[in-house]
């Protein structure tokens, strides 16, 4: 028997239906989401990122951080995301409107980073962690990103102000210092900008925790 035309129609219709359902409709529903302005405090959320942090987001993409780190907090009572302190509320569509590439991630070889800027505000910690994760998190399997740093001789003016404070086996040879490259600065700026805990009507932060 020959199903030719039926087959062609079916092939087209089936894929078209899911494209309409899972791509076109969500695009209509969420593609134009904007910032939310709080009526009481006039606070705008989510705030746009600095240029430095936007550059850092490109390094986050290029270095493939997304393959081990998620950027999404699941709702309370579903998984332990909130109990672990990864966020004060679940993340919603509006949290991601400024992301050029949305990197929700599907794997938690490392912890979630949705609010890492809030959970770990110390820039020095981020630099040392990127240089070699064993310094700040012994037992971690995150690869060292020493290629984002330069080891150079200490000049006559003494140690550079942005040189990493490294001790013990991690310290560079005597007379040398470890300086972050431009990329490391931008990446840390991005990581420190990661905060998704603004109060939103669709995802309110619990009052006692928000204070």
């Amino acid at each position: 028997m020959s199903y030719g035309p039926l087959l062609f129609l079916g092939i087209l219709f089936t894929l078209a239906s899911s494209w309409v359902g899972l791509v076109l409709l969500p695009h209509r529903q969420m593609g134009a989401l904007g910032q939310h302005t709080d009526t009481n405090t006039a606070a705008i959320y989510p705030a746009a990122r600095s240029g430095e942090a936007q550059q850092g987001a490109e390094h986050y993409r290029s270095l493939g951080c997304v393959y081990c780190h998620t950027q999404q907090v699941r709702p309370e009572g579903y998984g332990s995301d909130i109990e672990r302190g990864w966020g004060r509320r679940r993340t919603v569509s509006r949290d991601y409107i400024h992301d050029k590439t949305v990197m929700l991630g599907t794997m938690r070889t490392g912890p979630d980073l949705t609010n890492i800027g809030e959970r770990q505000a110390d820039a020095a910690w981020h630099y040392r962690h990127l240089y070699n994760p064993q310094i700040t998190s012994p037992g971690s399997i995150m690869p060292p990103h020493a290629f984002l740093f330069e080891t150079q001789a200490i000049g006559p003016a003494g140690r550079s102000t942005n040189a990493l404070v490294l001790e013990g086996t991690f310290a560079p040879p005597a007379g040398q210092q470890v300086i972050p490259t431009r990329r490391a600065d931008q990446l840390v700026a991005y990581l420190r900008s990661l905060k998704s805990s603004g109060d939103l009507p669709e995802a309110p932060v619990k009052k006692e925790e928000a204070q």
Binding site: M1, P5, G10
Partner: protein
């Protein structure tokens, strides 16, 4: 929202309608007659049903 409603309603009506038309076309042109014959399509006179192909292991080659 009106666009979404339009697409949803349109597809709700059009998709089953197209399905029904295709089904009518298929039955009226005899597409469903003896489908089991199609199961014989991989076979022919050189390699008929009942003939095993590709038996190469466990024999006494080499």
């Amino acid at each position: 929202m009106s666009v979404i409603a339009f697409i949803l309603l349109g597809s709700v009506v059009l998709l089953p309608a197209a399905g029904l038309l295709a089904l009518r076309w298929a039955t009226s042109t005899g597409q469903f007659r003896c489908p089991d014959k199609a199961a014989l399509l991989p076979f022919d006179e050189v390699e008929p049903v009942g003939m095993e192909t590709d038996c190469i292991l466990g024999g006494n080659r080499r």
